[in-house]
Structure formats: structure tokens, C-alpha cells
Symmetry: C2
Subunit: 641 residues, 2 copies
């Protein structure tokens, strides 16, 4: 183990610049491919037409081919009669060759047949070459169809075939070798095999291969290699000697004791950059061996992704003369303070939705280790290295990760967590159009406060008023005084203690939490479950002070369940569905009501109306009842406040 040392750390723009300059002339070779397979490829030389199109004078309309001179003078007053038998008019269809001697076509709509079609009467003249597609009108043989570096699309395939070019010279797709390294990694391609303790499924290579393919490259993923100096060196040398145009070595770039990548690149070639002042993505290595780019890509999934997007994808595109799509930007109001320590450019994953006339945005967790922070996000907020962060209410620019219309239709749901929200999300995504449901879990009170500040469409809440035994209404009166909100019941659900299978600590009720041999896992302050626990303790005349783990807080039912399953705690309070999901035992404590709180102005927006349809539907209710611990007997009821 050693301290992390980045000898060649640079800001993002400097690092990108160095990479670009080093490989500015680095283009892949060319190859001749069938034009029918050329969509998305780049021409590697000018393309000349081999044939003219049309290659003959062709009728541009269905009608009669004529010599234009025969029609001159025709009008309503002085119709002209052409005689078929004398060859003065010959029927032609669109695309057919113009018969010899003819130089115009009269549209079939403009003629009158008489005398068993032997006489053709016309009341207007045609001029020479009217309704005729002349030789070369579209393409002239030998003309330059495309210059070098033209991005070929579907219409270009049509033009190439038309011009007698069944093949075309294009830039070869770059080949990328992706080498995952790490002693802790195992291959995850076998289904249903849980990794042994201490082992992790190797997952970055799949993501990196897809990112490389999106940049037009052909990725190859090598087997996982061990974090061993000789092994890495041998594989890297072989990769550089292979046909690969670029090598990515993944996870070998953390500066822990297993970090040999920098040393090996330095020995075999040159390290251009070691460390970039971005977060996630800092431990990126950019190097060159034998003229080929060698990228040390960080191990944490989000770091791996951002590093690949910032360095690998642009370089791969450049090698083919391809332009990557630009990131689209929107502006949104920030719903939370986001301090930044400065010195590093941060890429924060955000959930954004439209509320009324503006977009609002909320951050997901910061950690680069959580891949779900990027899969759940629909936008990215970049906080510059020079910034100390952004304050709640600031208008910030966001990069879109999803199409704008999906962000527009996103329903924001902030507040307490319940598993039936996932069911709603699934039903909403099966609607037409689909409405993504983006839920962030900040507890019931957090949800009410989000409604107050206009930062959410929906808030899930199950706050018990100990004085009245009522749910939510007194809190709404207290915090949302005067705001027009609608409260409707989503479900009734069982709350109880989750304990390991077989209930080894024999927990029966709240009083057992005070036993010296029992460790508890709590929910955060402001959550309905925390309020419920305090209520139950109070009712039993017990003090929280004696509970081991009362201060150990988790933010969702599932993370409480995990804490119990992993042995970190012996018991936690939560919903039956979470216990069932992880095969924990469940000791019921009470049934509570879980409501959705919605500003009334949103009740008639298309997304919320669809959400209400779903909640009131039988398929939804059936699915929820099947989960266990839920009752839908009042689902959809509007609660009088």
C-alpha cells in the first residue's frame, strides 16, 4: 500500500488537449465495403459516379410520349388531335424510356381519348423535354459524388447504388482492446452464481465496450487478468503488438498497492497524463506505446464511464473522422445546496423534471462506486473546479442524458419510500406516452417540504400524529398552511420488525430493542418510520436512550433490511414487503396508511392523471396485494384534510 501520487495530473481541458495533439494524425486505414453496409461510415477518399442517372431519357409521368412540336398551338379553343396509328403519341409509364424521336410527355390526366383510343385530343401544348427526366439529370458519370470524410447515411446508399458504386472506400472502424484487471474480479456471464465473499462481478468491460461501439469502434474484451506486474506487462505488450488500434486497461489505474499500470506504460512507452482533476474519473491514465493510445481507465463504474466519455470516445471518433453528437443542455432550478470542495471538476448525477414553467433538479448520491447514480439520473450537473458549489434556488445548466421529451414527462416523487412506487413506475412506463417516475427518498417530512418549495410533483408520506392517531393531515396543516394540496391514500401497509430468518434474537416487540444483546438499525429523522418507532416507544413508556444502534440511520426500507441480513444489526423497523424481498422474518407492529400528497394544480396534468388512472386500476391493486403486507382497501381515496 502506498499513498496516491499523481505525477502528471492536469485539468480536463489540458488533458484532452494533450491527448488530441498526441494523436492528431492518428487515423485508421481504409477498407472497401459493400455500399449497402455503409450507413454511418466515413468515406476515406473522394467517390466518383461510375454511371449517370437516369442513364436514358425517361418519362417522369405516366402519359403519352410525343414530339413537342406536334402540340404547339393546342388550347381550349383550338384543341389538337394526335393519331396513335401514326405514332404521334405512344403511351409510357413513369420511369420508362422515351421512345425514339419523342422529346416530351403529356400527362395522362391532360388528354382525352376518342374513337376507341385512336385519337387523342389535347388542349394545351407541352414544351420540349417537359415531363422527361433527361440523361444525367440526377447524377453525371465521373462527377464527384462525395468528398473525403463524408458521413454516409441511408440516402447516400441509394445514391451510391444508383451511381454504379456497389462498393465504397471507407475508414476502417478502430479496434479497441479492453483489458479488465483485478484480483477481486470474477466473470459474471454465468447466471445465478453469486460471487464468493470478497469477490466482485466484473461489469465495467460491458459498459466500456458499448461506449466504444457507440463511438464507431469494434471492441474486444479480454479475459480478466490478475493485478500482477508481469501479467499486466505481458498482456499490455501483446495488446500493443496486436491489431488493436487502442488499448483500455480497466481498474488498473487506482493508485493502490495493485497499481502497476502507470509504471508499465512508462517502461514500454510514455505516460502523457496520470490523474485528471475531475470527479469521478480522477485516476485516469493517458499514455502511448508504439504510437498507439493506451488508456488506464478507473475502476469505479461512474469514474470508468466518465473517463471513457471524456477521453476514449472522442479519440475513437477522431480516428475515423467521425463527429460525436453534442450533449444537449437545459437550465433548471437547483432544489438543494450542493457544496463542492473545489479544485476538482465534479460531474454530479441529477434527477430533473418540469414543474410548471421551469425545470427543477435534485442531486443523486456523490459516490463514484454506485452505478445506479448514473442509471437513475436523467441529467448531469458539471461543477467547475473553480466553484465552491451551487446553492439551492440557483439556475444551473444541465447536460441531458435522456431525450428532452422524457425529461419533460418525468414525474418527480420526493419523500417517503415505498415499494409500490416501483410498481407505479413500471405501469407509467408501460403507458403511452410513457411517464418516467423519478423518486428520491428523503423521508415523509422531506417530501412535505419539497411540496412546500415547489420541488416535486408528488410526495409519499406516512406521518402519524401521536396526539390524534391521524396520518399526514396535521403535518400538512402545520407546514403547508394555505397551499392547495390533494392528499390521497396509496396503500395501507404492515410495519414491523425485520429480523434474520428464524428470529435468532427472539424479538417480540419494542421492549426487546433495549436488551443489551440486540443491535438496532434506525431510519433517519423526519421519516414516517422513525416517527412510528418513537410513538411506539412512547406508548410503551420506554426511552430511546437505551437502544444500541438508535443513531445508526438508513434512508430506505431496503437498506434497513440489508443491514439486518448482513448482520450489521439484529432488527430494524420497516415494511413487510422489504422483509419478504430479502427472506427476513417479519414481526408485525402495526398497520399504517401511506398517502400521496400532490399540489392540486398538478392533478389535471397528463402525467398525474395517468398516475391516478393507474392507482385506481385493478391490475395495479392486484399486483400490490400480491406483494404481501399491503391492503388496497382505500387505495385512490381522497383524504379530507
Amino acid at each position: 500500500m502506498k499513498r496516491k501520487i499523481y505525477l502528471k495530473m492536469e485539468p480536463l481541458d489540458v488533458a484532452r488537449d494533450i491527448l488530441e495533439k498526441t494523436f492528431s494524425g492518428c487515423r485508421t486505414g481504409e477498407e472497401e465495403i459493400p455500399s449497402r453496409e455503409a450507413d454511418g461510415r466515413i468515406t476515406s477518399r473522394p467517390v466518383g459516379a461510375r454511371l449517370s442517372a437516369p442513364s436514358f431519357h425517361a418519362a417522369a409521368m405516366d402519359g403519352l410520349a410525343v414530339e413537342a412540336a406536334h402540340t404547339f398551338g393546342a388550347s381550349d379553343e383550338t384543341p389538337v388531335t394526335l393519331r396513335a396509328a401514326e405514332g404521334q403519341a405512344i403511351p409510357v409509364n413513369t420511369g420508362q424510356p422515351l421512345p425514339e424521336g419523342m422529346n416530351a410527355v403529356i400527362m395522362i390526366e391532360n388528354v382525352l381519348f376518342r374513337n376507341q383510343d385512336r385519337e387523342i385530343v389535347i388542349r394545351a401544348p407541352v414544351y420540349p423535354w417537359q415531363n422527361v427526366r433527361k440523361v444525367g439529370e440526377d447524377i453525371v458519370a465521373t462527377e464527384q459524388l462525395y468528398p473525403t470524410n463524408h458521413l454516409l447515411g441511408p440516402a447516400d446508399i441509394g445514391a451510391l447504388l444508383t451511381a454504379g458504386c456497389p462498393t465504397v472506400w471507407v475508414r476502417r472502424k478502430p479496434r479497441v482492446m479492453i483489458i479488465p484487471t483485478g484480483n477481486e474480479l470474477i466473470d459474471g456471464s454465468e447466471a445465478d452464481i453469486a460471487p464468493p465473499p470478497g469477490k466482485t462481478i466484473e461489469s465495467n468491460s460491458g459498459m466500456l465496450a458499448a461506449l466504444a461501439a457507440r463511438a464507431g469502434a469494434i471492441p474486444t474484451v479480454s479475459p480478466i487478468i490478475r493485478d500482477d506486474y508481469d501479467t499486466i506487462k505481458q498482456h499490455l505488450r501483446a495488446a500493443v503488438d496486436s491489431e488493436a488500434d487502442m488499448i483500455m486497461i480497466n481498474a488498473g489505474s487506482s493508485a493502490g498497492s495493485a497499481d502497476y499500470t502507470v509504471r508499465i506504460i512508462e517502461e514500454l512507452g510514455e505516460v502523457l497524463i496520470h490523474g485528471v482533476t475531475i470527479m469521478p474519473g480522477k485516476p485516469t491514465i493517458l499514455g502511448v506505446i508504439g504510437g498507439k493510445p493506451v488508456i488506464g481507465n478507473p475502476g469505479y463504474p461512474v469514474s470508468s464511464l466518465i473517463s471513457c466519455e471524456q477521453f476514449v470516445q472522442p479519440l475513437l471518433a477522431r480516428m475515423q473522422g467521425l463527429a460525436l453528437p453534442e450533449k444537449k443542455l437545459i437550465t433548471a432550478v437547483l432544489g438543494k445546496n450542493m457544496p463542492s470542495s473545489g479544485g476538482m471538476e465534479e460531474f454530479r448525477r441529477m434527477i430533473t423534471g418540469r414543474i410548471g414553467s421551469r425545470f427543477v433538479t435534485l442531486p443523486l448520491k456523490k459516490g463514484a462506486g454506485a452505478i445506479t447514480t448514473i442509471t437513475r439520473a436523467n441529467t448531469i450537473l458539471r461543477i467547475p473546479a473553480s466553484s465552491e458549489g451551487e446553492n439551492k434556488g440557483a439556475v444551473v445548466a444541465l447536460e441531458l442524458l435522456r431525450p428532452l421529451d422524457q425529461v419533460e414527462r418525468t414525474i418527480l416523487c420526493t419523500g417517503s419510500h415505498d415499494l409500490t412506487l416501483d410498481v407505479i413506475h413500471d405501469f407509467l412506463k408501460r403507458s403511452d406516452p410513457a411517464y418516467p417516475l423519478a423518486s428520491t427518498h428523503v423521508g415523509s417530512l422531506g417530501g412535505i417540504m419539497a411540496v412546500k418549495s415547489g420541488m416535486t410533483h408528488v410526495a409519499g408520506s406516512h406521518l402519524l400524529d401521536p396526539a390524534t392517531g391521524e396520518y399526514n393531515t396535521s403535518y400538512i396543516r402545520q407546514y403547508l398552511n394555505g397551499q392547495d394540496v390533494t392528499l390521497l391514500t396509496l396503500v395501507h401497509r404492515q410495519q414491523g420488525f425485520m429480523v434474520r430468518s428464524g428470529n435468532p434474537k427472539n424479538i417480540r416487540g419494542v421492549e426487546d430493542l433495549l436488551r443489551g444483546d440486540v443491535t438496532f438499525v434506525n431510519r433517519q429523522g423526519g421519516s414516517g418510520t422513525r416517527v412510528l418507532l418513537d410513538y411506539e416507544l412512547d406508548r410503551a413508556g420506554l426511552s430511546a436512550a437505551g437502544i444500541r444502534g438508535y443513531d445508526f440511520e438508513e434512508y430506505t426500507h431496503m437498506s434497513v433490511a440489508v443491514a439486518v441480513l448482513s448482520g450489521k444489526a439484529d432488527a430494524g423497523l420497516g415494511i413487510m414487503a422489504a422483509a419478504r424481498a430479502l427472506q427476513l422474518d417479519f414481526i408485525p407492529v402495526t398497520e399504517e396508511r401511506y398517502d400521496l400528497l400532490i399540489p392540486t394544480e398538478f392533478m389535471t396534468t397528463p402525467g398525474i392523471m395517468q398516475l391516478l388512472n393507474i392507482i385506481n386500476s385493478n391490475p395495479f391493486k392486484k399486483k400490490v396485494e400480491k406483494m404481501g403486507g399491503y391492503s388496497t382497501r382505500e387505495t385512490g381515496n381522497i383524504v379530507t384534510q
Copy 2:
């Protein structure tokens, strides 16, 4: 042959609506695929995590695993010493499991080793679970990772693998059978085989297949079938009975005598729409047989493309729950009057570039038969059916066909045509960044007028002043009085008569054009070549009145050459390079100077500077000299006006 009859003609939006409603429930089935291959696919059911991630408590930093309680109270004043031998601190790297009994990690940067690493001094405490990635922090087993209809991206592949899902259920890609019909069509896959007279290379299927693939489908192109009732019926029935999810029958939808498609669809199923009021794309047929969509796609290439984009691609996307990217819009000033007859929505192909602070746009030819009108365009102007067109100077909305930055960098070149412009285009596209050169051919005077009205960056001109024998300068004084423009010489080039090989009509000079057995093809008024012809006639004391074909005008050197090659004319005046390209004989008449006229304000823009670099470079000059008929002796010289 019969009149075109569209029994079920509808506007675009009505037709799209009918198609959408008819196939609203039409989704492809599902299939289980490796998650590593799932980029761009759509989930067909909710996806649940099978494993938690992390699956063990893992170090989030390189450092020492400790029990947090041992560190409480540590400060600069009261450092705490941990003893390695007693197991109070155990080295761990990022990602490694936390040793049994430990619940926090101290960063390696924050410790001081002493006494040969046996003592570890710390000056700040860590709290429980600090720098630890807890079980399930990212993903909890059983939780819903994705709802139905989620578009999977690269990061999702990482999340699926991490969550123990090496495979995923996705919507099957729809299979599209593309059937080209037409007696005049031949297969163009063999290189260098020119089609026999009256035959045309089948090219639409390649374009349609690429469009279908872009909408996520798997296209299959059947062999070309004959325009024969029984043949088409038999193939259509077989296609409907096959695994295909959609059938496209191409070119069978023109309402000429070969049109059986509508009748057959009506017999086997139902015609929903026959004819759409769009241009190009009118003869579209939308039908349904056995529940499967059957699309009659028009034969003209641009009609075929637009019909496919408007009907086939959206339907294919819909079948998978996929969203097609929206067309991006820009606004531009129209450089030309564009009348529209009304009643039909027109899709006009446009060339657009930025001139100063605004985009300007010019139409390409209207004809649906010219595939190059779509391959050369970078934007589309849609003129609604209710409109009578747009006037020059109007601000219009355009759909982008190319990335915005490419449109931004487009150099507009309007005026006289010269083949060296294609060479410049090739060099500009090989520059970094690339500058597309979009040339429209309106003759020298047209180019000068485009400079006057601010509609072009560059104008090619070779206008001879008969009074002085000078090129261009007197015209510039006359038309651009006071405007600051720079005139520079591109090339000197041979102008002469193009005649068929062997010069069968024995043409020696202008006087031969007046012979009764000679047909001439002229250039349009305002073109430099037309001015040159008139000058030469005048010098010889001849009158244009006696020339057969003096009024038969073409707009480019190449189309004049084609007119001669195809026998439409015996002679035309033009440049040597055009004659050489089509192996015509060339009788020199004179050498002329061809200049580029550029508003001086653009001379220092990046695009024009790059163009000037190219013109002054040796590789460019060498390439031009090799074309024949050109001299570069004054290339790049600035002409004193």
C-alpha cells in the same frame, strides 16, 4: 395505363394518426439476450436485481481498516496510536472486504507509520462506517432495477452485470421484409456493369434497409420481383405468412399501369390509406394484412425516403417502444422565392449556411427523382399544404439533416460552376475541422447578385467584358458598387466545343453552329460561358438567330456534356475537363480566367482562410493541373479591381 386515382388520400397527420391507431397495440414479442449486447434495447418486463452491490462491506479508500471506537478522541493535540500487532489496524485497498470486526477505514494519507510500521499514529477520528461501501449501498437484491420499456444504455449494461443479471428480457427487434418490384429494375450489386438500355439499378432497398435498421429493425431485402399481378400477390402472401413483422413493397405504388399493390392489399386485407398529400411521397399506400402492416412505398428515391421516414420508421420504433430522435430545427433567411401550388405539404431539400449573424438557405431542385437533392442537402424546408410558398427574405424554420456545427461551418458557394470546386470541397473536408463546401450553380451573374444580397460566402465567376477583354472587374463595379469584395483568381481554363468522339459533324469554330445539320446546346443567360459564346459570335460577325438549339439551355458544363454524349445536341460550349470526363472530343476556343469573389469581411473567417490555404497549396495545384485544360499560373492571385 390509367389515370392516377387515390381513393383514400389523406393529409400527413391524418394518415399518421390512422396508422398509429391501427397498430397502437402492435408490439413485438420479447427475447432474452446477453446483457452485454443490450445497448439500445428496450426492456420488455421489469428487471429485478439478483444480487446486492456491494455484496460485502468494502473499503472505499486505500487505507487502514479500524474499529471506529478506537479512534475517538484523536486530534493534533492528543494523537492516538494503534498497534498493528494487536490487530487494531489492518491495511486494505479500495474494493477489498472490510476485515471482521472492523467498521471504518482511515485514509492512508491521514496516518503516520512509526517504529517500522508497527505503530500507526492518527490525529483525527473516523466515525463508524466512514470510507466503507456498505452491502447494498448501490443495489439491493430484489429491488426493481428498471421498469418495463426502459431504453438500456452502456451504464445499464454495467448495472445489470453488477446486479447479477447476465441476461435481460427485451423487446424483439421487428423484422421488415423489403420487396422491390419493377420490370425495369436490375440488381446493382455487381460492380462495373452498366444497366442495359431502359433498365435502372435498383437502389431504394439499400436506403430503406438502412432506415429500417436505424429504427431498430432487422431488414431483409427480397430479390426484385416483376410488376405482375400474380407474382406480387404470391410474394406478398408469402411475406405476410413469414416471420416478418412488417412488409414494405417498394415502387409498386406508382399508379401507373403496373400498379397492382393497392388491389392486392385490398384483396388480402385492408387499404387504410392510398395517397398522402405530401410531396415527395404522395403515392404511399398504408395497409394491413393479417394484422401486419403492409406499406406501399413510392418508387422515386426521395419519395421513398420521405415516406419511410414519415410512416415506416415511427411504426417500427413504436413496435419496440423506442423513441426516435426528434428533428432539430433552426431558422434561416430564404435566399429565393419558393412558390408552392398548395394542397400538398412540400418537403424541399435546402442548402443552408451561416453568413454573419444569420443562417441563409437556398433550395435544391424539386424533383423527387433526384436522389442527389437529398444527399447534397443539409436541411429540409417543410411548406404546409395551406401555404402558397415563401418569398425571398422570409425567415423560415428548417429541419437539420446534419449536425448543427457542420451547418455552421458550411461554406456557401453560389455562381458559376467549375470542376475544381469539387477538388476544393475534398480538401476542405480533409481539413481539421472540416468545412463542407455547398455549391449551387446559378451562373456567374447569379453569383455576383448573391454576393450583393448577402446570400453567399463565395461566388465563382468568369464574366468577360467584351469592351475591355477583362474578366469580372467591370461587372463588379457595375453591380457591387461600393461593396468591399475581394476578387482572386482560381484558375485559367480552356473553353471550347464539346463534340462526340471523332467529331462526326466536323465542327471547327463558331461559324459551324449556324449550319443546318448542327444542333447546339447552350448555357443559361447570365452564365460566363453564354457571355463568351455571344462575344465569339459578335467577333465573328455572326447572329445567334440562325443557331438551332440556342434556346435549349443547361445549367452546368457536365449537363452540356451529357446532352452532347446522349445525342440530344451535336455541340456545346464548355470546359475541357467536362469533355474529358465523358470522353468527348474538345475543340479549344479560348482560355479564360475563372475567379472567386468573396466579400472582404469573410476573408479572415476560419472557413475562408482554410479555403485560401488550400488554393495556395501545391497539392491542390498539382491535382488541378492533372485534370487537363487548367492552368494554375495565377491561382491565388488577388485581382486589383
